[in-house]
C-alpha cells in the first residue's frame, strides 16, 4: 500500500492563475488541499497614509491605482463620499455622465473577470481575447474623453473633469447597439460548453449565510442568491430612475458567479442606453474651492463597483486633507472565505474558485 505525505506548494507571486502579484502557499495531500495561506502586500503603496497628506481632489488618482481595472468606479466612490462630507451638489448632467462611465467600466471589468476565469478553467486565451474585443472599444472611449485608458482620473468632486468630445456620442451609440449581440456570442461560446460547465458547476460553493457572514459583496454575494446591489438598495447618481434587474445565482458556485457577471453586463448596457436617452444639457461640474475644507466629521460613502461594495471611510478634522482615509476594498474582504472554500478541493478547482472571486491585487494591497 502506498502512503502520501503532505507537502507545501508555493504559487506565485508571479503566476498566471493569481491574476497579479499575489502569492499563496498551499499544503497539499496528493491533489487535495489541506490548508491554504495567502501572502499579499507585494503591491502595497501605503495609499491610506499618503492620502492623509493630500487634499481630497489630489487623492482621486490614488483610487485609479487601487482598483486599476475599474478606475471609474473607484473615482466615483471617493467623489461621492467627499461630496457628502462637504455637502457639494452635483449637476444632473454630471450624474448621468458618471452613470455612463461607471457602467462602461463595469462591462470592461466583467469582461476581464470572465475572460480570465474561462482562461483559468483551461480555455487558453481564445475566450479571453474575445472578451477583450469590446473592452478595447470601451477603453478607446475613455481615452477619447480623458486621455487615459486605465488610470482615468476622470471624476471630480462636484462632477466630472471634462465634457466628452463630440465624436464620443456616435461611438458610444454604436457600441451600445452591438453589445447585446456580442454578449450573446460570449454566452453561446461558454455557457453551454460541456467542459466549462463540468469545471465550474458545484465548484467553490458558498452558501448565502456564509457569504453574508463572510462580508462577501458584489457578484460573489449575488452568485449565492442574495439580491443585494447598492444601486438598488442605496441608490446614488439617480440609479433609481433607471430600469434594470439584479441577476442572482441559485447554487453559489463558480458557474453562478460567472453567469451573474455576464448578465450584469447586459443590464449595464440597458442602463447606458437609458442614460443616453435621458441625459440633459447643463454644466458637467460644480465649482469647488481649490482646497476643500469639510466640517469636522466622518462619512462612509460606498458604491457598487464591479467587485461589489467599494467603501470610502473619510474622517475630516476641518483641514483640507482627510484625517483618516480608509478604502473598504472588496477584493481583499471577498477573500475572507478563501480558506474555507479551498480546503478539501483540488488545486485546479481552487484556481477556478479564486478566478471567480475576481480579485484585483492593486486593491487588495493598496
Amino acid at each position: 500500500m502506498t502512503t502520501s505525505e503532505p507537502y507545501v506548494l508555493n504559487i506565485g507571486p508571479q503566476h498566471p492563475s493569481t491574476h497579479g502579484v499575489f502569492r499563496i502557499r498551499v499544503v497539499m495531500d496528493g491533489e487535495k488541499i489541506q490548508d491554504i495561506d495567502m501572502i499579499v502586500g507585494y503591491l502595497h503603496r501605503s495609499m491610506e497614509k499618503l492620502a492623509e497628506e493630500r487634499t481630497y481632489t489630489q487623492n482621486i488618482p490614488f483610487t485609479d491605482r487601487a482598483d486599476y481595472l475599474a478606475a471609474m468606479s473607484s473615482n466615483l466612490g471617493l467623489c461621492l463620499a467627499a461630496e457628502r462630507l462637504a455637502a457639494v451638489e452635483v449637476p444632473e448632467r454630471a450624474s448621468h455622465l458618471r452613470v455612463i462611465f461607471a457602467e462602461l467600466q463595469r462591462i470592461a471589468s466583467h469582461a476581464m473577470a470572465n475572460g480570465t476565469l474561462v482562461s483559468d478553467a483551461g480555455a487558453w486565451q481564445t475566450p479571453l481575447l474575445y472578451m477583450f474585443r469590446e473592452r478595447e472599444k470601451i477603453l478607446d472611449l475613455f481615452e477619447m474623453t480623458c486621455g487615459a485608458r486605465l488610470t482615468t482620473n476622470y471624476m471630480r468632486i462636484g462632477g466630472v473633469a471634462f465634457e466628452p468630445p463630440p465624436e464620443f456620442w456616435p461611438a458610444l451609440g454604436e457600441l451600445v447597439d452591438e453589445l447585446p449581440d456580442r454578449i450573446d456570442e460570449y454566452a453561446q461560446l461558454v455557457q453551454e460548453n460541456e467542459i466549462f460547465v463540468a469545471r465550474t458547476r458545484n465548484v467553490g460553493v458558498i452558501s448565502a449565510e456564509d457569504a453574508i457572514n463572510g462580508s462577501l459583496v458584489g457578484p460573489a454575494l449575488r452568485g449565492s442568491g442574495v439580491p443585494w446591489d447598492l444601486r438598488k438598495t442605496e441608490p446614488y447618481c439617480g440609479y433609481d430612475d433607471f430600469e434594470f434587474e439584479i441577476p442572482v445565482g441559485t447554487v453559489g458556485d463558480v458557474y453562478d458567479r460567472f453567469m451573474v457577471r455576464l448578465e450584469e453586463t447586459r443590464q449595464s448596457t440597458k442602463i447606458i442606453q437609458q442614460a443616453i436617452d435621458s441625459i440633459s444639457d447643463g454644466p458637467h461640474k460644480t465649482d469647488i474651492p481649490l482646497a476643500l475644507r469639510p466640517e469636522p466629521g466622518e462619512v462612509y460613502g460606498r458604491v457598487e463597483g464591479p467587485r461589489g461594495e467599494l467603501g470610502f471611510y473619510l474622517v475630516s478634522d476641518g483641514s483640507p486633507a482627510p484625517y483618516r482615509f480608509h478604502i473598504r476594498a472588496p477584493s481583499l474582504i471577498n477573500l475572507s472565505l478563501l480558506r474555507d472554500m479551498a480546503r478539501g478541493s483540488t488545486l485546479s478547482d481552487a484556481v477556478v474558485t479564486l478566478g471567480s472571486i475576481d480579485i484585483v491585487v492593486g486593491e487588495i494591497d493598496r
Binding site: R54, L85, A291, L337
Partner: protein, 195 residues
C-alpha cells in the same frame, strides 16, 4: 454630519442597547454609538441576533489614531431590512492597544482585523491568525499611526500647511507655511513640501 442614506438613528440603537445590556453604551454621537471595548463581542452578537436590528453583515472595520487614543469603527448592515449601524470602541492605551476580536461573530473580520493590526498596531485578542497582512514580519512600527516617522510633539502629520484661499500670494503662502521652526530644524526636516 451627514448620515448614510439608510443609516439608523444612533439614538434608537443606543437606547435599545442600553435596555438590553445595561452600562454598555459609553457615548452617543449623531451617527455613531460608542460601546465599552470589553463588551464589543456581546454588543455585536446582540445586534446580529436581534430581530429589530438584524446586523447580518460587517461591511467595514477600521481603526483611527487620535494621538492619545484609538477608535475602532464597525460598520454593520442588515441586508433584509436595508439599514446601516455604526458602532465604535475607544481604546485609551496608545502603545499597545488591545481589542477583543469579532471573527467568531463575523467571519468577514478575519482579514480586516489583520489589516488594522498591520497598519495601525491594534491587537485583536482571540483572533485565530493575528499576523501582519501587507508588511513583512519585523517591519518597524505601524505606518498608519500618526506618530510613525517620528513626528514630534505639537506637530501633526497631515496637510496642515496648505495655503489658505485668502492669502493673496499662494507661492509665498506655501513657502511661509512650510517654514521649519528654528529650534528643531536640524532634527526634523519637513516631511512634506509644496503642493
Amino acid at each position: 454630519m451627514p448620515n448614510g442614506p439608510n443609516q439608523l438613528k444612533s439614538k434608537i440603537v443606543a437606547d435599545a442597547l442600553s435596555n438590553a445590556i445595561p452600562g454598555i453604551v459609553k457615548n452617543v454621537a449623531d451617527n455613531w454609538v460608542e460601546v465599552d471595548v470589553q463588551q464589543i463581542e456581546t454588543c455585536l452578537l446582540w445586534l446580529r441576533q436581534s430581530e429589530k436590528f438584524d446586523a447580518a453583515q460587517l461591511s467595514n472595520l477600521c481603526g483611527i489614531d487620535y494621538h492619545d487614543h484609538f477608535m475602532v469603527v464597525y460598520h454593520l448592515q442588515s441586508l433584509d431590512l436595508n439599514h446601516q449601524i455604526v458602532i465604535k470602541v475607544r481604546i485609551d492605551e496608545h502603545e499597545d492597544p488591545v481589542v477583543p476580536s469579532v471573527v467568531a461573530i463575523y467571519k468577514g473580520a478575519l482579514l480586516q482585523e489583520r489589516e488594522a493590526y498591520d497598519l495601525m498596531g491594534i491587537k485583536f485578542e482571540n483572533h485565530p491568525d493575528m499576523r501582519r497582512l501587507f508588511l513583512w514580519d519585523g517591519f518597524p512600527g505601524h505606518p498608519l499611526r500618526k506618530d510613525f516617522l517620528g513626528i514630534g510633539e505639537g506637530r501633526t502629520s497631515g496637510l496642515n500647511r496648505f495655503p489658505f484661499e485668502n492669502e493673496s500670494d499662494p507661492v509665498r503662502a506655501i513657502n511661509q507655511d512650510n517654514r521649519i521652526d528654528e529650534d528643531n530644524s536640524q532634527e526634523s526636516p519637513p516631511l512634506w513640501s509644496g503642493v
